[in-house]
């Protein structure tokens, strides 16, 4: 039996549908992260599970109990809000103990629970302070502490780190992971930051337009994206996309035309993979780290436009002219390369974009993945 189970949840508003039939389940103790662009429905789903939204149809159950119609406080969930939502008129201790106070628990029990949570989060020194006297990171801890005090079945996090600066954010990521292990609690975590998803999640749910695109472990999603959306969303810098169409079909070998004046590209489809039809418009994807000076295939010549030297690695953006990227989201049609070292590339320099055949992913026009990159990619490079 799953600890948290969401079945066919639909949430309709007067003018649009926020969730159109979402189902997933989480094991006890699992850390599940929901990612997706803003407006994809991930927050609505989280709030529906919390009971802050009434769902139009479907069901939610926690620890075997159907809680679809239950009051938020009766669901056994605790939530950590993006902007902390600490009660400004209560001290830290009062904030953390409020739920127990509402439940009319004895004072000693409340104090003990607050103390325990405060120790876990190392905020015992601040218990008497009011939220406005705390730093952002401290507020975040108190918000988490408030959730811990309640000892919920499921922790819900709604983009809890997005108001912190970068250094604090990475620190809190680690702390959250530690906390997850320490508490062994089921956690559902919403974020639009794929780094958080990749680093913390046992499993990631990628949402788009009110539906789930894919559920899986971080590396599964990275290596075997089910859709072009997932491929584009997971990984930073994002995957490069090239518009192409099917030029020839020979058994499981498919030849793609990339554009006038460019050499066609032949890829071998594995058994079980769906073959496209002749003439189909498709999209080829290739991760920035797979694009380099060397490789089996010469895609195109390009002019370096921007170089971002990050020290340990270098990001090179170049304009391949003839090669068309498919969407406007990519940086001015530039191709991104991730070079795992310091590089002497300079803007204006002409480079050759090359890659191994095994690095390419093929997406159908509707976004579904037809052909995966080789799972061995990580070792290959």
């Amino acid at each position: 039996m799953f600890h948290l189970e969401v079945r066919d949840v639909v949430k309709r508003y007067a003018r649009f549908t926020a969730l159109s039939g979402v189902s997933f389940a989480a094991e006890r103790g699992e850390f599940v992260v929901m990612v997706g662009p803003s407006g994809c429905g991930k927050s609505t789903l989280l709030r529906s599970i919390a009971g802050l939204e009434q769902i139009s149809s479907g069901s939610v159950s926690i620890a075997g109990h159907d809680i679809t119609a239950a009051e938020p406080s009766d669901r056994g969930v605790a939530m950590v809000f993006q902007n902390y939502a600490l009660y400004p008129h209560m001290t830290v201790a009062q904030n953390m103990g409020f739920a127990l106070k509402v439940a009319r628990r004895p004072k000693s029990e409340i104090n003990a629970a607050v103390m325990r949570a405060a120790e876990i989060l190392r905020i015992t020194d601040h218990l008497a302070k009011y939220p406005k006297a705390l730093s952002g990171g401290q507020k975040q801890r108190v918000a988490i502490g408030r959730a811990i005090t309640r000892a919920p079945e499921v922790f819900l996090f709604d983009e809890p780190l997005s108001n912190l600066d970068a250094a604090l954010r990475s620190q809190m990521r680690i702390e959250l992971s530690r906390l997850h292990r320490q508490l062994g609690a089921t956690m559902l975590y919403v974020t639009h930051d794929q780094t958080e998803a990749m680093t913390m999640a046992d499993r990631i749910i990628v949402m788009n337009g009110g539906t789930i695109e894919q559920i899986g472990s971080p590396l599964d999603l990275y290596n075997k994206p089910a859709t072009r959306f997932v491929a584009g969303f997971i990984g930073s810098p994002r995957m490069n996309f090239v518009a192409a169409h099917v030029l020839r079909l020979a058994g499981r070998s498919v030849g793609f035309s990339l554009g006038a004046g460019l050499a066609p590209l032949d890829l071998e489809f594995a058994p079980g993979e769906t073959l496209p039809f002749l003439g189909d418009a498709v999209v080829l994807g290739i991760r920035p780290e797979a694009l380099g000076d060397s490789g089996e295939i010469h895609l195109a010549d390009a002019d370096v436009a921007v170089v971002e030297a990050l020290g340990r690695e270098t990001l090179v953006y170049s304009d391949a002219h003839a090669l068309r990227t498919t969407d406007s989201e990519s940086l001015d049609g530039y191709f991104a390369q991730l070079v795992p070292s310091q590089s002497d590339k300079r803007p204006g320099q002409r480079v050759s974009l090359r890659a191994d055949r095994s690095a390419f992913v093929v997406f159908a026009a509707d976004g579904a993945t037809l052909h995966d990159a080789s799972p061995a990619l990580a070792h290959h490079k």
Binding site: Y13, A14, S43, T44, L52, E53, Q54
Partner: protein, 293 residues
């Protein structure tokens, strides 16, 4: 994003609405309906029977020169109040917001003070000040070598309405100033800094940053003043009683006179309905404008 925190039609929602709805309903809306019904009858406050007269009370209003005088006086006060109170309030607020650094809290506090003084008190004090025999104003005017109005500040039909405007301004400018000041202070300083980098300073900054920034506040201030101008009663009632010889009669006092002095309740109700509809229209306008904002 839509985030209803309260599900529709829940019992607690109606229970929470109940006190306000009951009080407003019982003490405002029902009497208002009774007033509307009463406007189609002829009766005095003390009479036992009501006689149905149809629209006669409204026809009477249409041909009653005093009714039209009262309306035009109301409009005079409304327009004059908007100019003096909103205008004056805006000028003072602008100065206190950016023109003056020292003492602005003291100024602000003093200028607002009359708002908390009762209209009755304001009226009595000003009656004393404006008295033609012993009033300080006459003394000052005479000391300046000028001659005060022969019929008195409140006794001359041509002047008395202006005096009411002055007293109303004295009492209310502080409120409008405070409102506009709050609006001004809500404009982020960065906007001015950005504008000044773009070369907009002084009047230009006022025109492109300040005015749009307080547009909503100005709308609100104007509407409060306009509605207040139509509802004005206490001040006129105590200071001039509508005189001299009806010169300062406004809808509020004329309605009161017809109802309580002459016993023409039906007619008074008809005029009250006119006042009510005017005020309601303005209220509706306010809701619309503030919703949109």
């Amino acid at each position: 994003m839509n985030r209803p925190a309260l599900p529709a039609g829940s019992l607690s929602a109606s229970a929470m609405m109940a006190p306000a709805l009951i009080l407003v309903g019982v003490f405002i809306l029902i009497p208002a309906v009774v007033a509307v019904v009463g406007s189609f009858f002829d009766f005095s406050m003390t009479s036992a029977t009501w006689t149905f007269v149809g629209g006669a009370n409204y026809r009477r209003a249409a041909t009653d020169p005093l009714f039209w005088l009262a309306i035009s006086n109301n409009i005079f006060i409304v327009v004059g109040s908007v100019i003096t109170q909103v205008g004056g309030g805006a000028i003072l607020a602008a100065i206190l917001d950016r023109g003056i650094r020292r003492g602005s809290v003291v100024y602000r506090t003093i200028i607002f003070m009359p708002v908390v003084i009762s209209s009755i008190a304001v009226a009595f004090v000003w009656m004393l000040i404006l008295d033609p025999n012993v009033g300080p104003l006459n003394a000052v005017v005479k000391a300046l070598g000028l001659s005060p109005p022969r019929l008195g500040w409140l006794g001359d039909p041509a002047i008395s309405l202006w005096m009411l405007l002055l007293i109303a301004a004295w009492q209310n400018v502080g409120f409008q100033m405070m409102l506009i000041l709050a609006g001004l202070q809500a404009i982020p300083k960065e906007n001015y800094e950005a504008a000044s980098l773009d070369g907009a300073r002084g009047l230009k900054a006022f025109w492109y940053i300040t005015l749009p920034g307080i547009r909503n506040v100005l709308v609100l201030a104007t509407l409060i003043t306009v509605i207040g101008g139509f509802k004005v009663f206490d001040l006129v009632f105590v200071t001039t009683g509508g005189g001299p010889a009806n010169a300062t009669q406004v809808l509020g006092t004329y309605t009161y006179t017809q109802a309580f002095s002459f016993g023409n309740m039906g007619y008074a109700n008809a005029m009250a309905v006119v006042l009510l509809v005017t005020a309601a229209l303005l209220g509706w306008l306010q809701v619309r404008l503030s919703r949109r904002a």
